[in-house]
């Protein structure tokens, strides 16, 4: 989109922020790189009686392996413009070292669930993406002294793990967790990260199962199966579905879904985190950057698909 200066500013902030936690990233940092306060519940009434009301953030000490994939993927986009500087290369090698050591550790995953740590498929795919981008950077000479062979073999090992353990043959879908039988909307991101083609039989099967189990009616999509009973449909996931459809060439269907989702914006074009199925009422955090990032990515993919 041409916001190169902003992208470099973000990389600078990331380098500065992670300076005190170079080996293991925190999940959350404030603008100065401090961790948010630990979570506590307050005996206060929430909006329209929602509960519990919490201060701080319980995710602050969680392990979420997907963050490494997000960071390395972002840096690999930057590297297309100009050579990476020493600090960025050091940060990327540190990401690689952490992922090599922890790629098969259970984690909380993208949704920061409170049920404990599991082998989330999305996190494994993002670990795969970390190593894949590092392999490409090293092959392009952008990452001197990187253990290229280790990156390659670990990447292939992860793919084998995902294809064997995170695929459910009887349901014909990738699953939320290794060995599981539930689905998760974060699986819609697999093509976006270049793990597989959106039109591949396995991804088509996954999309169909997500549509069957997580649809909130219209274009809405819930995050994961347990979330259906507890919260609204998650708007970022709905835009991921649009993205996935556009990538496999079903542009008309993608555009119809996109148009329905745009109706959920408020009078100044902002979206909430979630929407109530049926009414479309805004729920959760507002405004939610995550939703808007999903919207922008879906719009860019649609634009590309139309050409």
């Amino acid at each position: 989109m041409g916001y190169e200066d902003e992208a470099f500013a973000f990389a600078s902030w990331l380098l500065h922020t992670t300076r005190l936690t170079p080996r293991k990233f925190a999940v959350l940092y404030d603008v100065y790189g401090k961790k948010p306060r630990d979570e506590r519940e307050a005996a206060l009434p929430g909006y329209e009686g929602s509960k519990p009301v919490r201060f701080g953030n319980g995710a602050r000490d969680q392990l979420q392996l997907d963050v490494y994939g997000e960071v390395v993927d972002a840096a690999s986009h930057l590297a297309r413009r100009e050579p990476l500087d020493r600090d960025t290369r050091r940060l990327l090698r540190a990401c690689g070292a952490f992922v090599l050591d922890h790629k098969l550790d259970p984690d909380r995953g993208i949704w920061e669930t409170r049920e404990g740590d599991f082998l989330h498929t999305h996190s494994r795919v993002l670990c795969w993406a970390t190593l894949d981008r590092l392999v490409h950077l090293a092959e392009a000479g952008q990452l001197p002294r990187a253990p290229l062979d280790r990156y390659r073999s670990a990447r292939d090992e992860l793919r084998a793990f995902i294809e064997q353990r995170c695929w459910n043959e009887s349901l014909q879908t990738y699953t939320q967790r290794a060995g599981g039988d539930t689905v998760d909307a974060s699986l819609l991101l697999l093509p976006w990260f270049g793990y597989c083609d959106a039109g591949s039989p396995r991804m088509r099967g996954t999309f169909a199962r997500i549509d069957e189990r997580l649809s909130g009616g219209g274009a809405l999509v819930f995050r994961y199966e347990e979330s259906r009973a507890k919260e609204g449909a998650f708007l970022a996931c709905a835009f991921w579905a649009v993205d996935c459809l556009a990538r496999r060439g079903e542009v008309q269907q993608a555009e119809e879904r996109f148009a329905k989702l745009l109706e959920l914006q408020n009078d100044v074009g902002l979206f909430a985190e979630m929407a109530a199925p049926g009414t479309g009422e805004a729920l959760g955090n507002f405004p939610q950057a995550f939703t808007h990032v999903g919207l922008i990515n879906a719009a860019l993919t649609l634009q590309e698909a139309r050409r």
Binding site: F8, A9, S12, R19, L20, V31, G33
Partner: protein
């Protein structure tokens, strides 16, 4: 004034100060790199900023050593303790006086009183440099006290 001692030990003390502060950053004690802060005043490139900043810091350290030398000459003797005390005072001036002013004069440092600009991608250190980590004030004081102690111990008043 003992010019040769100033030149020699001013250089040595600045080198130690730089190494200690960079070491604090490398070991995750503080995010502060004074050479980087100085270097980004003249260039946006991270690698170049570190190189230029190293020499700028060396130059500044050499000049500031003159103030230490003048203090020792005024007091009639130079000792490690006196040097450390002057170094602590120096650190407090940096932490309480210089750091809060930096966003106003540094061309690439973000300011808490202005909106975001993509070209200002150096974070403001804040009062006592606490935005650069809770240990930043201690690391800054220790490094500057060491700088002063080296000058005080090795400079000879004539």
């Amino acid at each position: 004034m003992n010019a040769s001692a100033w030149l020699l030990w001013g250089f040595g003390a600045t080198l130690v100060l730089t190494v200690v502060l960079q070491g604090c950053q490398a070991f995750g004690i503080s995010r502060l790199s004074l050479p980087y802060v100085l270097g980004t005043m003249v260039t946006a490139g991270r690698d170049r900023a570190k190189l230029y900043g190293f020499f700028m810091h060396l130059g500044v350290g050499w000049i500031v050593a003159l103030l230490y030398v003048a203090t020792f000459e005024q007091l009639g003797a130079a000792t490690a303790l006196r040097g450390a005390l002057v170094g602590t005072l120096h650190a407090l001036i940096v932490l309480l006086g210089l750091f809060p002013l930096l966003p106003g004069v540094h061309p690439r440092m973000a300011s808490e009183t202005q909106g975001p600009e993509a070209s200002r991608n150096l974070e403001p250190p804040g009062a006592l440099g606490l935005h650069y980590g809770a240990s930043t004030p201690i690391a800054t004081i220790v490094a500057h006290a060491l700088y002063g102690a080296i000058l005080g111990a090795l400079y000879t008043v004539r």
